[in-house]
Symmetry: C3
Subunit: 394 residues, 3 copies
């Protein structure tokens, strides 16, 4: 059988299929688990004109936002929601976002995804960075929080379905950060899942389309609120070393992996970590609820994603009770600091960096326990080093 594949949004074909749907009947009739993919357009307020692509693999519903850099809005498995309740309610169209506004914090006006990429030219805290631009000039520019990629519309979005079992469903897209006299970085993403799977995979690559070497940064801002997050919830990963981002985070270094319930006015705490991995470089991080009955895990390679940032922001529910697990090539300091620390990689002309993360929902104590055991095994007997003080990057 010919593999099923359809372009949904395409610059090269000058195409947006509009509202659209496909089911397993048409695309993989052999699949024992029925599934569907729907593309719908949002209306009203700041979400006018935003398209969503929702994969229902028969067990989990995964919703992708092409207009917001192919971020993942949410994943849901029955009443088990992966994601969070941001005070930002609509799926904001990028044309309403001004990244440089609010002193470089404009990004926050659209922030409500389960998973959004930060990057890819730069991705850390706002503020000035001085660098040599591609024409050899030294230039100083105010970088905005978390970069541009989450507010850029995708092109070459398509669905492809494997013709053979397990009939993997793949949504692909491209998002470009490119400008004349500046970076030409192409993000290619494939978000895929198997019918019946309680999870999904993100496989990305970043390619330097220019002729000159170019820095890049990326981390995946993966955000979880209730029901996973709550008093007694726990972050579990094979941590080798954890460093508080700032003095505020240092206050909580002893309990960096534990969560309190919502506290109105809570001030965020951010931890920068290095993880252990298995022989092939694979590692896993998890967030489990207080009862150890539900969890989400992220599995990835520390060669591809050597840095893990943990963000704790357990304020009042109406302000966004949330934690972020953020695998990346760097930590979220401003790029001038990350460069100093040697954590801003470069791609030569035509070069590419690839990354894959497997997201899995876990339900039931047995499954959660088994996941935790797996992570403890990677940790081994070596306890994490807890730094009392932030990294000195001044």
């Amino acid at each position: 059988m010919k593999p099923f594949g359809v372009p949904l949004i395409s610059v090269s074909r000058n195409l947006n299929v509009g509202d659209w749907e496909v089911t397993s009947r048409e695309a993989s009739p052999g699949s024992p688990v029925p599934w569907s993919v729907r593309k719908t357009r949002l209306h009203g307020g700041k979400q006018e004109g935003v398209d969503l692509i929702a994969i229902d693999n028969g067990r989990m519903q995964i919703t992708i936002i092409p207009a917001r850099g192919m971020g993942v809005l949410s994943a849901r498995s029955g009443d088990f929601k992966l994601g969070w309740d941001s005070p930002v309610r609509e799926v904001v169209h990028p044309s309403f976002i001004h990244l440089d506004s609010r002193g470089g914090l404009g990004w926050l006006e659209g922030f409500n995804e389960h998973i959004c990429r930060c990057g890819i030219e730069y991705n850390g805290h706002p503020g000035p960075d001085t660098f040599t631009d591609f024409s050899g000039r030294e230039t100083t520019v105010n970088l905005n929080l978390h970069g541009r990629i989450a507010n850029l519309p995708a092109q070459e979005v398509e669905i492809a379905v494997d013709p053979d079992p397990p009939y993997r469903i793949r949504i692909r897209g491209e998002v470009c950060e490119r400008t004349f006299y500046g970076p030409r970085l192409l993000l290619k993403t494939e978000i895929s899942t198997e019918p019946g799977q309680n999870g999904f995979r993100i496989s990305d690559s970043i390619t330097n389309m220019g002729s000159q070497p170019q820095e890049f940064e990326i981390f995946y801002h993966c955000n979880y609120g209730q029901p996973l997050l709550g008093e007694g919830a726990r972050f579990v990963a094979p941590v080798r070393r954890v460093t508080p981002l700032n003095a505020r985070a240092a206050e909580g270094i002893r309990e960096f992996d534990a969560y309190a319930g919502p506290v109105a006015g809570f001030q965020e705490q951010v931890y920068c970590m290095r993880l252990a991995a298995d022989a092939r470089g694979r590692t896993e991080a998890m967030l489990r609820d207080a009862a150890a009955d539900r969890a989400v895990s992220l599995a990835f390679s520390i060669q591809e994603l050597p840095c893990l940032t943990l963000w704790k922001d357990t304020g009042a529910p109406e302000d966004g009770y949330v934690t972020g697990i953020e695998p990346g090539v760097n930590f979220p300091h401003n790029r001038r600091l990350e460069r100093k620390a040697g954590r801003v990689p470069k791609l030569g002309g035509g070069e590419r960096h690839s990354m894959t993360i497997d997201f899995q929902a876990h339900e039931g104590r047995t499954e959660v326990r088994s996941l935790e055991d797996r992570i403890r095994a990677i940790q081994g007997s070596e306890p994490p080093v807890l730094d009392e003080r932030p990294e000195d990057l001044a």
Copy 2:
């Protein structure tokens, strides 16, 4: 009879009804005055995609712009137009507005409404303001002129018609200024009129949807040009005290309530006023033409809107010959100055501030005279204090 109500634009229902119309026949057949409401979409240039909602109550046509924060573009009663002729001709879609551009004056590129709200996080002159953000950090941000609300698209826009006489027609909408790590202010507005009425009402509330206390500012920039404005036109209100905004305004303090004809190159003059009110706190301000034959009045409560700003900008017609009557909770100084003066109110988590303004057109000398008498009665025998110098806020 079941009350008539239809959602027109809704995020929660993922809806925009597009071009749409209703008449009294369907919605209030009992109404002795036929009326209609039409929603139409604009095209061309910077107005591509902007919707207008036009209420024709049988006497007055009131046009609302959901995409521009539910501002009122114009009101017209026969050949009596309330509003002005701005050099900005199209109804500019917010995606073409960059509030931070032109040194914080980007707002002016879309400014042509009869009534637009300035606010609601801040609303004064552009420039730096240092404040404690909601996570407890002191931060300095360049505020843009007149805030964001007039360039944010509305959601939950609906029409509702009272089932009983006088069959009031209500257009409601919500506009949010919300961001993660920042204000969560919700403006709810209802713009309503009665069939056959030569006026309309704006009833607004601002609610702090977050858990932490939050400042807000608002004034209503209500603008009038010809035919009301002209040489000899007059502003009439029960003024207790009037203070020039700056040295330029101080030059004209003696004639703050009088208007000259258009003068090319005229430099604006702005006056900050406190008004007297009746026993219930209600007050009225009016602008009448030279012949005292036509007038517009704004009636409101000084508890809800304690500040009134008068803006005189009587330049050449092609530059926008106009005056603004601007009831608000504050004056248009930059927020750092208004805060110093104690005029930036705060809302606790979940708290709300409500405001209502009644706009009325008056035609014929008798009606205008009677309005003026009413205002003189509120003024009483106490003459206004005219400050020779601007407030000292340095």
Copy 3:
């Protein structure tokens, strides 16, 4: 016969005809050369919602972008393409452009046109400019690279076809740079061609719609890559004087009119020129390929466009191998420097400046030779003055 004319995009008529087409059969049946004009809408990524208007005059295809200030995306005559391959691939909708971003270089994120106007309030390098605004205040604003006009959507776009031979096809449009308390500059453009012609004409005017005097700046950024540009290609014009823009350009002053092949990492060189003209003030500039077999020429009046800037940016093809021939009223220094040099003209209230450029493709050595002879005749025996150093504007 009644002249053929149809509005395509109009604010005053509230109109956008959407996808649309006309052919010579309907519009000028007498034309011996069949032609067509098509309006199509683009989809995908950052080009969602951009309309293109493509004139096929039977020999040359000329594509216009109303949403990007009536720029000319490309002109093509068989396999002879006038234009270039920018690393920016889509035709970017202005709502995705933030001119003030990247330290004022946001303009570059949409730059890929064959011809785009830079201006019209200002058009040079980014940076602060202090000027007296129209209300008499001295103000300092950071200007963005190349101004706003190329990222403003047109209105009153229409097609008109002459009823008589040679049945000239005209696409007209208006683009406004206007704001309250600021400039009110109206660009009217007509891009026209004759059936069968291997070229086209741009006739523009800029009008000050305000009452007060207003500065303006404009140059036409006309860009050429392969096949014209290549090692051995040559710029030919009757140059009276050529001044390097900066030290980098000064390095190449002896070969300012010669081109090398692509060199990865090449740093741009810019030359400011004054041209000779014939008795009527007309002059011509050309770019020809190495074989002197193909050329493009721009013919214009030095009264209308007294400055010519030559931009050489012969980097790697993937970075945009390109040269720009840029007739204008000024050079591309920041406006504060151009003002100092006396090159920022002013328009009084209601005044207008008109400009016409004829673009012509030339194929075959005979035609190219004859063009070059014409230019040499204007040059006469007076050789160009080559300045070794940039203009001193400090």
